[in-house]
């Protein structure tokens, strides 16, 4: 199982749902008990040492984290998008067997990350969400991670058809599967602020990602402030 450094942040542990709050949760904050998805916004019961860390407030009206959709990562763990709360996120939709645009899209995100000031590079999380509900199993995503040499700052997710469609609709991503099983799709990078609101979108491949990098850097700095 992959352990993401993301999961080590105690503040995130307070918003984690039961599925992904495993051994990686901070020791002083026991993972919250399983809650139905509709209660995701409720404050989890905090252990005494967690109280000073401000348990999760309700999500803002424009936060994608208010969705109760469940995803699975390439380690086979259940993940809610809300577990990304607290740091900037660079998100793109893709499919692992794509031979044309997706590797380039990933490369664009790598360039974006490289353009960040070094001290901020570890703050943002890169998230790739697959369209390919049939073929992109956790194992297929894991193979993609290896092939593209993606470190722990990358989260790879898969979901069911309805979940993928809903996220694509919220991001404005267009996609269509053809007879060969390939997808035509928008090449779109979305930057989410720490609250899960869309802060910036960058359309197109191999373009100038400096504007997106600037947004991510700004959000990363703000997220570092007490």
């Amino acid at each position: 199982m992959k352990t993401y450094s993301l999961l080590l942040f105690p503040v995130l542990a307070t918003v984690m749902t039961a599925g992904n709050a495993g051994p990686a949760a901070a020791p002083c904050c026991p993972p919250p008990a399983a809650r139905p998805a509709c209660c995701a916004e409720a404050k989890p019961a905090a252990a005494p040492c967690c109280e000073e860390m401000k348990p999760a407030a309700a999500f803002s009206a424009r936060s994608l984290y208010q969705l109760d959709a469940r995803w699975t990562d390439d380690g086979g763990q259940a993940v809610s998008l809300a577990s990304l709360r607290g740091r900037p996120v660079v998100l793109a939709m893709f499919f692992a067997s794509c031979e044309y645009a997706c590797p380039v899209l990933v490369d664009d995100i790598k360039r974006l990350r490289a353009a960040l000031p070094e001290e901020l590079r570890g703050r943002a999380q890169m998230v790739l969400v697959s369209f390919d509900t049939a073929r992109d199993t956790p194992a297929a995503l894991r193979a993609f991670r290896e092939r593209m040499k993606l470190d722990d700052h990358w989260t790879l997710l898969r979901g069911d058809d309805g979940t993928v469609q809903e996220l694509a609709m919220l991001l404005g991503v267009k996609y269509q599967q053809d007879a060969r099983g390939q997808f035509s799709h928008s090449n779109l990078l979305t930057v989410l602020n720490p609250e899960g609101e869309i802060a910036h979108q960058h359309a197109g491949l191999m373009g100038d990602v400096s504007e997106a990098a600037k947004v991510v850097a700004g959000l990363s700095r703000a997220a570092l402030l007490p």
């Binding site: 208010q66 404005g172 390939q182 997808f183 035509s184």
Partner: protein, 272 residues
């Protein structure tokens, strides 16, 4: 047969009942022996020729049979929905799911008012809201293929394209500005399957509208912008003379799921 018609009449009284009767009476394609859900017409399985397709894809794709609402969802229908689903009222809807134009023609949260008469199609509803309505009704939004297959029928035959005068009727609506308030739904001439207003009242949401990947304006770019879309090189247009189909593809590609647009309503389907 007569008993079936009577049953239908009772299920869908008033003008709607007439519409169903008229539809069944004029078509050989409908499932005459089955009553089906109230206010819905049966669209038999068939095929649909996508406007844009990749080179190695078949010209026509099969479409399964479905039941489709005989008219678009009205303001009265939608009012009943928001009464029981408060999160979809204008003052309470999340901006994530509907922009500021949501139900803007309505006088208030629970009062459609003079600009949105009860019998007129509800417009300025987002895709998310339309989908929520459909789910609450135990239905769903039609796919592009289902919608286009149903709308491809003429007045007197299943294939509207080969029916004299049908295409010009469709074009007529496209060039005529929509009146405000919109006319009552269900009054347009029924098509071969007994469905009203598919091409003559409002634009309608489809479940997979985001598969339409035309960028910019439809006249200038029938293909795809290569850097914006993956697979761009492989998708091309089927028939560049089918202007209304281009309009629909252009419209679908220009909206986002939270847009609440004037003249954009919806209807629902059910699988048999």
């Amino acid at each position: 047969m007569r008993a079936t018609l009577l049953r239908l009449w009772r299920k869908a009284p008033g003008p709607l009942g007439l519409a169903v009767l008229f539809g069944l009476g004029s078509s050989g394609g409908a499932r005459a022996g089955e009553a089906g859900p109230a206010g819905m017409a049966y669209i038999p399985a068939g095929s649909y020729a996508p406007l844009l397709r990749s080179q190695d894809e078949p010209e026509r794709v099969p479409v399964a049979a479905c039941w489709i609402d005989v008219r678009p969802v009205t303001n009265a229908d939608f009012l009943a929905f928001v009464r029981t689903h408060p999160k979809w009222r204008r003052s309470q809807v999340s901006p994530l799911f509907a922009d500021s134009g949501y139900l803007a023609d309505w006088a208030d949260d629970l009062e459609p008012g003079p600009r949105a008469p009860a019998g007129s199609p509800v417009v300025r509803v987002s895709w998310f809201a339309a989908r929520a309505y459909a789910r609450a009704a135990g239905k769903r939004l039609p796919t592009t293929a289902e919608w286009e297959h149903a709308a491809g029928a003429g007045f007197t035959q299943a294939d509207g394209a080969s029916e004299a005068g049908f295409n010009s009727t469709v074009l007529e609506w496209l060039i005529r500005p929509s009146p405000i308030p919109l006319p009552v739904a269900g009054q347009g001439r029924a098509n071969f399957y007994g469905v009203h207003d598919l091409l003559s009242l409002v634009w309608e949401w489809v479940d997979d509208f985001n598969t339409a990947m035309v960028t910019g304006e439809s006249r200038g770019d029938t293909g795809l912008e290569r850097t914006f879309f993956c697979g761009a090189g492989s998708v091309g247009a089927r028939d560049t003379s089918d202007f209304p189909a281009f309009m629909r593809a252009g419209f679908r590609s220009s909206v986002r799921a939270n847009y609440a647009v004037p003249n954009l309503g919806f209807r629902c389907v059910q699988s048999p």
